[in-house]
């Protein structure tokens, strides 16, 4: 069977984009098999099929994996794998009445964002404040190593972009609930 790998980078706030990407590949005849490393997506050739992919972020679910996965399987969602705290599920569109997602209200979508915030954004922010920023300042004012300044400067921009993107996304979910 023919297989292929694709490297693709999605930031923390882009899980919807990632879901659409996997669905698109499925329609093109490439069935998603796994994601590994820093964003290496593995596919195998199969007949084109419209399959909906969904990501959940639920650490409590991961620590009670049997029951967690059972709930999804009962509802017709196939569990694929965990990756960076996210669980990957899929269900063929043909088995659905209209559109189906693993969340059925905006409150629970917002709650997932809150779990991502606690599990991913806070550690990132701690890392940013305790490591990246001190290193950046050190390279500018103390060691005068401007090559390092450029590196840490670029990382700072990347971090800030992710923080802003998350804030924007969070607000979008929050506004829907109000």
């Amino acid at each position: 069977m023919k297989t292929k790998k694709e490297f693709k980078y999605f930031t923390i706030v882009e899980h919807e984009k990632e879901q659409e990407y996997l669905r698109r590949r499925g329609k093109e005849g490439w069935k998603f098999t796994k994601v590994s490393g820093l964003g290496m997506y593995h596919f195998e050739e199969s007949k084109p099929e419209d399959v909906v992919y969904q990501l959940d972020y639920n650490q409590e679910g991961l620590s009670h994996k049997d029951e967690y996965i059972r709930m999804f399987e009962d509802c017709g969602w196939e569990y694929i794998q965990d990756y960076a705290g996210y669980s990957y599920f899929r269900k063929p569109a043909a088995e659905m009445n209209g559109n189906e997602e693993i969340f059925c209200d905006d409150e629970s979508r917002l709650q997932m964002m809150q779990r991502v915030f606690k599990g991913r954004m806070i550690p990132l922010f701690v890392m940013f404040s305790l490591v990246i920023i001190p290193q950046l300042l050190l390279s500018i004012f103390s060691t005068h190593n401007y090559a390092l300044t450029a590196v840490y400067g670029a990382i700072t921009v990347l971090y800030v972009t992710i923080f802003v993107a998350f804030a924007v996304k969070y607000k979008k979910y929050k506004d829907k609930v109000k």
Binding site: Q54, D56, N58, E60, G61, D66, E67, Y68, R70, M71, F72, D74, C75, W77, N97, E100, E101, I102, F103, C104, D105, E107, S108, Q111, M112
Partner: protein, 104 residues
């Protein structure tokens, strides 16, 4: 009933409402999904991510309690506090319904 519970559950989401309604008898998450689908003629299909998140949150808030596990499914039941919350919410919905009938 403390302010936190009142704030979160009055009014409550449709999902939380159906969970409390169904859990007057012991049941598991998927059982609730099926019951609600039947009850609403297929109009409301609760989703697993929402169900899992709501059940664990409601268990923490002590409006439902975990009884036992059966074939990897957790069986829950409503608590006394949950019943109080449900009655309050029912009264609110009945009032809404009654008022709207008087106007329309």
């Amino acid at each position: 009933m403390d302010q936190h519970i009142r704030k979160v559950y009055i009014p409550m989401t449709e999902t939380a409402f159906y969970i409390l309604l169904c859990l007057r008898k012991p049941n598991h998450g998927y059982g609730i999904v099926q019951t609600v689908e039947k009850m609403t003629g297929g109009e409301i299909k609760l989703a697993p991510g929402t169900m899992y998140g709501s059940l664990s949150k409601m268990e923490k808030d002590k409006v439902i309690k975990f009884l036992y596990e059966e074939e990897k499914r957790k069986i829950y039941q409503i608590t006394e506090l949950g019943n109080e919350v449900l009655q309050l919410e029912l009264r609110r919905i009945e009032r809404l319904y009654k008022n709207s009938r008087e106007v329309i």
